[in-house]
């Protein structure tokens, strides 16, 4: 088991390094110079030259690469070309904002999705089950960005019930007013963000519950005459939730990467929005750093998922011993 895990960790590290190298090369192959915005008649070529020097763009590609890898291993990502602040500070701030949004959306979709999934499974083949299933299919067929626009038009512009974007109003002072204000700002993005995930979770949950309901030990429990509520609560639910737990790792990229489009529409100052802007302005250090975060979350998320699988399911744990 330990050998297995350590092998997986080594492979993951190599993977991360490979992806980082590739994205570095890709970035520097691309046309367009990040200092292009300084090339103006009123700025002397010498000044541009010194700016290039400051950003380290005059070094050879190899030198830049080595320096960048060194920085990354210490979680320092250099200075952003556009914000002129350390990338680490920018991203820490953005991550905090993104996590507020994604964590709440994640919990929300989990609760709703699991409840819907269980209900549909218990009522298998009934009209309720059919209705829920079709509803879920429609739910994840709706383009989120479009729904967001419609929701803003209706709830913010026409009715004026909810704010149309940003995290909080400008003049809100601390205390519970601030929290109330933030919650208001979160309602629309959280609901729209969690909709497709509700569909995934509910479908997955339904399949798990159905699979378990067909097991021998459930039939035995029924034939013992145990109350239905107890069978569902104690034997079915517990086992059906286990696969759900192992999926948590796969949500890691979403939690840390944020939702690019939704953040963009609601002007939520998170990682997704910062990255989009960075890409448009050729801000290499910032793009590479958020790419780094995204890669790490994908790789680590898969690792966590595999490990949780073994932790949660003793059958797999013992298999890998043999």
């Amino acid at each position: 088991m330990i050998a297995f895990i350590s092998k997986r960790i080594v492979i993951s590290l190599v993977l991360i390094l490979a992806v980082m190298t590739f994205s570095f090369v890709l970035m520097h192959m691309a046309p367009g110079d990040p200092t292009a915005m300084y090339i103006r008649p009123e700025i002397a070529p010498k000044v541009v030259e010194s700016i290039r020097h400051q950003f380290g763009l005059d070094q050879s590609l190899w030198q830049q690469y080595v320096r960048w890898i060194k920085e990354c291993s210490q979680f320092e990502f250099g200075t952003s070309f556009t914000h002129l602040r350390p990338v680490r500070a920018i991203l820490t701030e953005a991550l905090r904002n993104t996590l507020q949004l994604t964590l709440i959306a994640f919990l929300f979709q989990m609760v709703i999705g699991i409840l819907l999934g269980i209900y549909a499974a218990i009522k298998e083949h009934s009209w309720q089950d059919q209705a829920i299933q079709s509803g879920l299919l429609i739910l994840y067929s709706i383009p989120g960005f479009w729904l967001a626009l419609l929701a803003i038009t209706l709830f913010s512009l026409k009715l004026g019930w909810l704010p149309s974007g940003q995290m909080q109003a400008i003049n809100t002072s601390g205390g519970w007013h601030l929290w109330l204000n933030r919650i208001q700002h979160m309602i629309l993005p959280v609901i729209i963000l969690s909709m497709p995930f509700i569909a995934y979770t509910a479908r997955f949950m339904r399949e798990s519950v159905l699979r378990i309901l067909k097991q021998d030990y459930i039939r035995t429990a029924f034939s013992y005459g145990l109350p239905k509520r107890r069978i569902l609560g104690r034997y079915v639910l517990k086992n059906a939730l286990m696969p759900q737990v192992t999926l948590i790792g796969l949500y890691l990229p979403f939690l840390f990467g944020g939702a690019v489009v939704i953040e963009h529409i609601f002007a939520w100052p998170g990682v997704g929005r910062i990255t989009v802007n960075a890409i448009f302005s050729h801000d290499f250090p910032l793009i590479l750093a958020s790419n780094f975060i995204a890669t790490v979350t994908v790789v680590v998320g898969n690792l966590i998922s595999d490990m949780l699988y073994a932790v949660v399911d003793p059958r797999i744990r013992h298999q890998s011993h043999a």
Partner: protein, 283 residues
């Protein structure tokens, strides 16, 4: 999982599979409308109307979806945009399925270090954050429909490849393959004529779901301004056009979104129906 996919069991027919029916009907209407855009569209999608009289007209009998800020007919744009969006998504899925099929097949049939190397490369692609890859490549290089097809196919083949590899691994030790090997057939012939034809059915069943996914992805990219570029119309770009005038001219963004939704629902129903039809519990 892989043995399951071998035993395709046509238990339900088209008649009692309402999901399949709904999907087919929705898609039939949409495809006829978009392919026949030249017939059904009442205006040239790019023709600008009179800037004083034809801008932001609300839906009426002459412009059933209204007009946009240049006085262009939204209905015609939606049809032509739909043609582009659909063609793009379908070509992406066809390309990535073919590539995934070949990649997975070659890896599994070759085995040994080739298999290991190919699977490591696949892991690498999987670890590469797709959305960042698309955005970086598309924003830094000139985006065109062709380059979009290539980049979207490049991120969509891995799942298929894994699926096919697992299938071929179980198939390649069966008697009919061993017989073919004994007859001295070329490995390529065995792969293309004996192995892959036996695993493409379940792969094909995933195609509609993939098309649905691609339509959503392409439209959100075009909406962000890094997919299809104006003046070309795609559903995503039309929604983006209407964004600035949401309050007064809601129709510009509303209708293309409805079309996206219907198309995606159609493909999802089709995929779901096919899955049920072939009793395939692909995960």
């Amino acid at each position: 999982m892989s043995t399951l996919s071998l035993t395709i069991n046509y238990t339900t027919t088209f008649r009692d599979n309402w999901q399949l029916q709904t999907g087919v009907i929705i898609l039939f209407v949409l495809i006829v409308l978009t392919i026949g855009a030249n017939i059904f569209a009442t205006y040239d999608p790019d023709a600008q109307g009179d800037l004083l009289q034809d801008r932001y007209l609300s839906p009426s009998t002459s412009h059933i979806f209204g007009t946009d800020k240049f006085g262009r007919d939204v209905f015609s744009r939606v049809l032509y945009g739909g043609r582009l969006s659909l063609m793009l998504a379908i070509s992406v899925v066809v390309l990535s399925l073919i590539f995934g099929l070949l990649y997975g097949g070659v890896a599994a049939y070759a085995g040994g270090w080739i298999d290991t190397a190919m699977m490591r490369l696949l892991d690498f692609w999987l670890a590469f954050p797709a959305i960042f890859l698309i955005m970086t490549v598309v924003a830094l290089f000139r985006p065109s429909p062709a380059s979009l097809v290539i980049i979207l196919s490049a991120i969509g083949w891995m799942e298929t490849a894994r699926f096919v590899r697992a299938d071929v691994l179980t198939l390649k030790n069966q008697e009919f393959i061993i017989a073919a090997q004994c007859l001295g057939y070329h490995p390529l012939r065995i792969l293309l004529h004996h192995l892959l034809p036996n695993c493409w059915a379940p792969v094909l069943a995933t195609a509609p779901l993939k098309v649905a996914e691609m339509i959503l992805l392409e439209s959100s990219l075009s909406f962000l301004g890094i997919g299809i570029q104006p003046p070309l119309a795609s559903w995503g770009t039309i929604i983006n056009d209407g964004r600035v005038a949401l309050f007064d001219a809601w129709w510009i963004s509303l209708f293309p979104g409805v079309f996206i939704m219907l198309t995606v629902i159609g493909f999802n129903f089709l995929g779901e129906g096919l899955r049920r039809k072939s009793k395939l519990n692909s995960r």
